[in-house]
Subunit: 143 residues, 3 copies
Amino acid sequence: MGIHTATLRFQTRGNADMVDITRQVAQVVRDSGFDGGIATVFCPGSTCAVTTIEYEDGALSDLRRLFDEIADPERHYQHNLRWGDGNGHSHVRAALLGPSLTVPFMERALLLGTWQQILFVDFDNTARSRRVVVQVMGEKTGG
Amino acid sequence: MGIHTATLRFQTRGNADMVDITRQVAQVVRDSGFDGGIATVFCPGSTCAVTTIEYEDGALSDLRRLFDEIADPERHYQHNLRWGDGNGHSHVRAALLGPSLTVPFMERALLLGTWQQILFVDFDNTARSRRVVVQVMGEKTGG
Amino acid sequence: MGIHTATLRFQTRGNADMVDITRQVAQVVRDSGFDGGIATVFCPGSTCAVTTIEYEDGALSDLRRLFDEIADPERHYQHNLRWGDGNGHSHVRAALLGPSLTVPFMERALLLGTWQQILFVDFDNTARSRRVVVQVMGEKTGG
């Protein structure tokens, strides 16, 4: 058993920009050299989140609509009184969707469904440089 | 430290069918032979999700109502334009609830609350054959 | 590789009381003696949940409003017919937000963002004594 950690870095456009990071996470798993284990995907930030989805424009658009309805950016947010950066809706959305995802793998491959991708969502209201931590914990089975 | 992986298989009726998989996950933990560690419960699919709940009909019904309200199946979804399978609401619900759950265990027993069960939700709009991956990572303490 | 488990204990006021447990989780990580790994934060209960947020009154208030709107305590819940304890809204909120969070750490420090804290939410409708399980899985790198 051992641990392998990597950091993904990329740019987003903010405003619920949705990035498919499946390929990069799968690469970190291969780089680890482990045959089986778990990949923890974690966003170090309070206005971004991770989950999985079928990554196609329709489903992404539908998910954005859901968040627009339950956390409308046009409303008043108490958070905005503190910092004046107008991203109160970003914080509640990120807290709801959550910053961590755990995906098991076997034979060096993530155990995702055929139509299931790992999704990073940047809920902040501006373009950002983002980091995502991918920490792989696993073992070589020598198979 | 080591890893033990199993796949649960079962039928659902779809349409937010909610299945209590606690007993099966607990069995995988016992089968692992580990005394302590974590059980990662993961849905390989983009229209299903896992969480915990007090598994009783009232709470399940209340949870279904919440999803019916925030992601109403009767509305239009962009995803439905792509595939015509009418399950756009299923995708956004699954992305929101999330595909992974991590439950620690000690002395071979999951550290769940007394009234807390592990819940698989099939948000798809048809009956399905489903798989859930349970990956146990742990150690024998020899206690 | 090894495992270190601890239980946090604290009082809440219920009613979406939100507790910052970052410092306590970080202490468990240091107590583990591991340099790198993951900390699994798990609520053993069906009316509480964990996530991360920028822990400041405005954002907490905004998150409470979101839950008040999507799971209004003043409405009827089927769960309340069973037990008569009036916390049906607590159960659906907790199931939606989820009981588990996985945070990676390196060099004995949680890889959280600068403005990101670990949040425990007690959705129950009364003051409670609560336990949170923190299970650390990691390794010493001797660095």
